[in-house]
Symmetry: C2
Subunit: 239 residues, 2 copies
DNA sequence: ATAATACAAGAGCACTGCTCTCGTTTGTTG
DNA sequence: CAACAAACGAGAGCAGTGCTCTTGTATTAT
């Protein structure tokens, strides 16, 4: 009977969530590699071996944290986009998503490091994580595609650029066509600039959060604004 | 007598280097957080406590590794730049440094993660590391400044961009002026685009090495070429 | 009611960073 | 040259880690 769960099932879900929450809290005080399963167990009032009833290993716990964090970030980005009432204001949507991404990252630096920092050694993110992981870029792609369908000018490659752009971003083109983007909208130069912009956004956040911009950038808020604006401009999005 | 070192001093330097080498080798099989001081000690035929005669803590060892890796990368980048015979070929120099950076990163992914991945928790990189850490960006800045002094067109901000660019990159402007760049060459828009390009390069490498481009980019070599070329173009560097 | 299963607890293993103590070696000074 | 101080390597030990195995109990299904 799937309608009424047994007491044990409910308890299991509750405790699983409780462990996850405790682990996420612990993550804020240490890195993924330092996440102590025993400490998490203590926080929820269990002995360490009992946690293994819920997560077969520390890596499985990390995977669950990874998915939760990706979803949290994706939700924040999507909510920010959805909050833009003028759906034709592509630059506004772009800025909203970028700003929300940065806000979330600054509010959850340890989750950010888990997602976009060094991968935990000896741990390969399983397939379950790719869905949640793509939510931000999917939304960014949607904004860009919509803008160009509405007449935004396509970026042009530098005259002397190497040939064969479409070959380098074949995966991305295939992806957007898979979600129903018409073939003529899948312009390689747009795809390339989109991936570049996406990379720059997260590169900027990594540099900011990991301290590589100390001494170069004086006002992180204003700097990010400038970057986001130029990325949009490079993509043909204007106010 | 500083000329002839005592046997103990020489031994100390040798053993210190030996420990460092062993640690670096170990780093290739685990992450910074998993670097086992005991394992390193075993590799050099010591007992763990003896290592503490040379490095007061595991973090100090990490710092030494950090500096060594930064210097290694910086040296590779500088050598690639120096190898460009036509010093007026600014795009060639730019490409050489970027390519060398990527080559080094792909050859030393664990060192790269140490430098540009998540910072090791509870560990703040000391001041000693900032010098070696800036070698790549210093060389990139040199190329860009030289190019613009030779007449490369300065990038222009989008018409509707937020004002106050110079305020966001004040640190960078101050820095280039400190190394003898004349005031008129310290154009804020150039500085901003330089930091953006720098961020994009390492953002691209992080995304590539950490697996975030899987599915989007089909040919990493060719993609990086395209990115580097566009970054140069955005900065006014042309063939 | 009985049998199967899930569970929490504890002991234990091999490992970690780090500290302390112990003799020994090396370098400096009188 | 002798005496002292500093540096050194080795070992034991502490508190912590991930994880496994066993044991007794509570819950579920038959």
């Amino acid at each position: 009977m799937p309608a009424s769960k047994t007491a044990r099932q409910r308890a299991r879900e509750d405790i699983t969530a409780e462990i996850l929450a405790a682990a996420r809290a612990r993550l804020a005080e240490a890195g993924p590699g330092e996440l102590s399963l025993r400490a998490v167990a203590r926080d929820v009032g269990m002995v360490s071996s009992a946690v293994y009833r819920y997560f077969p290993s520390r890596n499985e716990l990390l995977t669950a944290l990874l998915i939760a964090a990706y979803d949290d970030l994706g939700e924040a980005a999507e909510a920010a986009d959805d909050a833009v009432t003028d759906r034709a204001d592509h630059l506004g949507r772009w800025t909203a998503v970028c700003d929300a991404t940065r806000e979330w990252s600054r509010a959850h630096p340890h989750d950010y490091a888990l997602l976009y920092g060094s991968p935990v050694p000896g741990y390969a993110a399983p397939q379950d994580t790719v869905g949640p992981a793509t939510r931000v870029i999917v939304r960014l792609v949607d904004i860009i595609v919509t803008a160009h369908q509405s007449g935004a000018p396509s970026p042009v490659a530098p005259a002397t650029a190497p040939t064969g752009v479409e070959r380098t971003v074949a995966g991305a083109i295939e992806f957007v066509q898979g979600v129903g983007i018409p073939e003529e909208a899948a312009v390689p130069e747009i795809a390339l600039r989109t991936i570049m912009a996406w990379t720059t956004i997260f590169g900027t956040l990594s540099f900011e959060l990991f301290g590589h911009l100390v001494g170069s950038v004086s006002d992180y808020d204003a700097y990010f604004d400038q970057v986001v604006f130029r990325l949009a401009a490079d993509l043909g999005l204007t106010a």
